[in-house]
Symmetry: C2
Subunit: 342 residues, 2 copies
Amino acid sequence: MAHDPELFLRACRGERVPRPPVWLMRQAGRYLPEYREVRKKVDFLTLCRTPELAAQVTLQPVDRLGVDAAILFSDILILAPAMGLEVAFDPGPIVDPPVRSAADVARLVVPDVEAEVPFVHETIRILRKELAGRVPLIGFGAAPFTLAAYLVEGEGSRSFETWKGMLYRAPDLAHALLEKVAAATAAHLVSQARAGAQAIQIFDTWAGLVSATDYAAFSLPYARRVVAAVREQGVPVIYFALDAAHAAESVRACGADVLGVDWRRSLAEAARAFGGASVLQGNLDPCVLLADGETVRERTVAMLREGAALPGHIANLGHGILPSTPVESAIAFVETVRGFRG
Amino acid sequence: MAHDPELFLRACRGERVPRPPVWLMRQAGRYLPEYREVRKKVDFLTLCRTPELAAQVTLQPVDRLGVDAAILFSDILILAPAMGLEVAFDPGPIVDPPVRSAADVARLVVPDVEAEVPFVHETIRILRKELAGRVPLIGFGAAPFTLAAYLVEGEGSRSFETWKGMLYRAPDLAHALLEKVAAATAAHLVSQARAGAQAIQIFDTWAGLVSATDYAAFSLPYARRVVAAVREQGVPVIYFALDAAHAAESVRACGADVLGVDWRRSLAEAARAFGGASVLQGNLDPCVLLADGETVRERTVAMLREGAALPGHIANLGHGILPSTPVESAIAFVETVRGFRG
């Protein structure tokens, strides 16, 4: 069946669509052999910073899976070097030295994103040309809370105790950092929209680190500011707060057009928690794609049936696709959504 | 003020008490210099298996912090060698080879716990004698879902994709494993109660890996069985499912006397989600203990005020105490609870 190139954007705007659009978080990634081929030649950061290659891997899942949207190949930490920090990937991000003191925060630069991350905008321009309207292009970045968590912790961590220690011990310092990170993030995402990104997804991967009260204090105000800046560009925003079932009220208050839902809650539960009015994106457990095709199809259909009762639904996984996923499972997922008629 | 040695057990049974009892998950641990002294001499597994030393470190926080309960020093994986598996700690648990196939599951032994983990019972007997009624002794183990997750994954992991892959790809195999693990766990916890443990805490640390539906299918039935077996011994059970705000209905259905609450939700929210009738345990964010004494006291009092509106409250952290915690913060937490009068 032919693609409707507008399907994804119409769903983002809450319009009625004949079937939910579908894409996969981290769809340009290691589960694809053609991605691993490219990565044999360049390291991760070089790939992010080389527009021709970043565009190439962005297009791979569009060609291979038939998804309804492309998402820019980049990383949520791509802003950190522009802010004056050293970042490496091994394979998770390492910020060394991390941001710990008032002097560290004072030294951080709110970058001129046009000058400092030109490769992002160039990648977007190449992609818009190569996609030629086939499917829309999504840009993305981290929510300020999540980016700040990495900058302070210095690396991924189970409890992010250095970052949380700062929230509780030195909340003013945490807020000063969040201010700068929010300004940089807003500029970065607005510039992606101006370069041609047709929707923006904001990842608040570490929303589940804190209580609803602390989330409302340390994440929500900064996420709202970024969401509002992007929406002023006329571009819809998807906000995905992972593991934030306990903070639904704040998540809804961020003002995004679409709310991402992880695999823990059913879409129906999430809709109730959000008050029923939002377009939701998600939420098949990425581990389901490790099972047989029959199970993938059954669980995808179950998710789609729940989605059909919502004001709007964009089919996706409930977290990034795992590197160990068989490509056939990703295809089975996408084809099940494309064949669904409520 | 003098301790009421029965305070903790009365609170577990839902009786009215003059103030909430207090203890800390992982209170015998690396944040205590006297614990680190003992660990200089023996490795972790030897410490668990040497009754005199295990009893010694169990008593350390009782003496140092003035908590209202002692908790046996052991590990949730202490059962794995008795089931026929090789376990090491580096520092997290490693099960090598892990349980992957039907043959692996068939080979697993439901152990004669009296013969296979005699050191646990001996530690409990020493402790009951040394505590001499000063405070009650809590025994513990993992919920079958959480222990099985480790046995299949082989080590800690962010997404436990091997275990979750088994749930979705081979649910019958997962259930066969859970049956054996539940039988072993029930025997282990019943034997702790018979040896003298006066309450049992069951840790379902990986409850948040799966959706509410999968939790109801793969964790709840086995947790219920273990809870029921322990309660038949006349011993109260605390069930702590981490990151399970999305599955409150199933958590409540496990039949425990007390439900643990992590730091994400407020006690008031958790009480609403559980239907209002349960005694709750928790839930100060362990990272709060990294802040100054003033902040520790303020946030502890805020938690206690929420707890005072519940049918019953046992003060605790919302997760294990962090190794980097200053001892003074742990003391400030305990003293704030002990001085609280609603």
